[in-house]
Amino acid sequence: MTWIQAIGLLLVGTAAGLDLVSGPQVLLARPIVAGTLSGLVLGDVTSGILVGGILELYALEVLPVGAARYPDHGPGTVGAVWLTVQTGTLAAAFGVLLALALAELGGYSLIALRRLNGRALVRAAPALDRGEPHAASQLQHGGALRDVGRSLLLTVVALAAARAVLPLVLQAVDASEFLAVVVIGAGLAGAVAGAIRTSGGSHRAALLGTGLVLGWLAGGMAGIFPRWGGW
């Protein structure tokens, strides 16, 4: 990995983490986007799209609502794509598992961020309650900076973890097929469970079922192309 690639990956991971809550929330936090951009940075878009696509199934289960703790998939996706580029797409399941572990860690980091913001709020509360104009501004900028730090740190941890597990993954590459069934099957379950929880109505359930059948047929057709993933 060149320095430019490293900087590119850190930028992608940080932007993804920031977009989850503090930023405008315009899909940069989604694994398919973070994965594709990471693949572009590393010169292997197919790996990026493949890993990002599978992780997107897990993200479809999550509603990022208010005070709940939810996984942060973006920074981990960056590490997963790097790992998959090193091992090849046949071993992509290891990268996906690494990203899922980091997504869980990312959820805890969001709780820590909110608590740090809360401490800053306690210090600024008297000024806020007096209506001083700069108090809210300082809290917002401080929160955004802390989230940049959180996202950057999570991306560094993801890349370091990917590098650390690479030798182990290369030894266990024979388990890839088995693991592929696990990570793809669980992702499928997650996406459908998310849709069932939010749909409810019979019309939506029928269309969900129709979509599942059509997607299966279309996926089979796309599978005949040797470069699933676009390139």
């Binding site: 405008p24 899909l27 992702g187 676009g230």
Partner: protein
């Protein structure tokens, strides 16, 4: 730059200072400040700023309605208690509408565009999905701020008959179909890339078993935790049986 434009730009990062104590209140205060600086009587301004920083929770894309309505009410000299009641009453409906139309509707549809487009065409489709999401975010935020400023204390009528409320059901149906399409499209395509010698049906069986487990366990065992547990067990099993 005009106060409305500054407020609009600030609304794009409205959750930066999110805390458990006041939730999105600080972001609302930051976005409302330029609007309160203009047109609110000087003797009332400090109180208005303090009120705008109190507890508030809603959907981030729609927070502009609350910011605009509150700023307009402060400019009109509405009593503080009424503004606080308006603020308390707005949070729930804005949150519910945003969760339904945006998180459970538009985002899964755009996600499907990104994933299926990436699988069939390449990297340009995820980038296009980000551009579309950005355009929608800007337009929804701009609309909500403008309508909030226009309606002030009558903002509830905007929510009742707005386009977002009218398309909620249709977007939800589209999201369900898009999620189904995405889920199996990725599953089958990924099997072809990652396990080309394997038939695709074991993934369907695994998915069905996983779905039963995830629905039964609820929030305690979301799919990503299930994958971590099952993946760990699979690796242990593989260590035990490998030649």
């Amino acid at each position: 730059m005009r106060a409305t434009t500054v407020s609009l730009l600030r609304l794009l990062g409205v959750q930066s200072g999110w805390t458990y104590e006041r939730m999105g209140g600080i972001g609302v205060a930051f976005a409302a400040a330029p609007l309160l600086d203009e047109g609110v009587a000087a003797d009332r301004r400090a109180g208005a700023l303090a009120r705008s920083a109190e507890f508030f929770n809603s959907h981030p894309w729609l927070a502009g309605l609350a910011v605009g309505a509150e700023a307009r009410a402060e400019r009109d000299g509405v009593p503080a208690e009424q503004i606080q009641r308006l603020r308390a009453a707005l949070g729930g409906p804005l949150g519910a509408l945003g969760d339904r139309v945006i998180w459970a509707g538009l985002i899964p549809v755009l996600s499907a565009v990104a994933v299926i487009g990436a699988g069939l065409v390449g990297w340009a489709l995820p980038v296009l999905a980000v551009v579309l999401a950005s355009a929608l975010r800007w337009e929804v935020t701009r609309w909500s701020l403008r309508r909030g400023l226009e309606s002030g204390m009558r903002v509830a009528t905007v929510l009742k008959d707005c386009l977002l409320s009218r398309i909620a059901t249709a977007v939800g149906i589209a999201a369900a179909a898009a999620t189904g399409l995405t889920a199996t499209f990725v599953a089958r395509g990924a099997v072809a890339r990652m396990a080309p010698d394997l038939a695709a049906w074991p993934v369907l069986v695994g998915g069905a078993v996983g779905l039963a487990v995830v629905l039964k366990a609820g929030a305690r065992l979301p799919a990503h935790r299930l994958a971590l547990v099952a993946g760990g067990l699979a690796l242990i099993l593989w260590q035990m049986v490998k030649p």
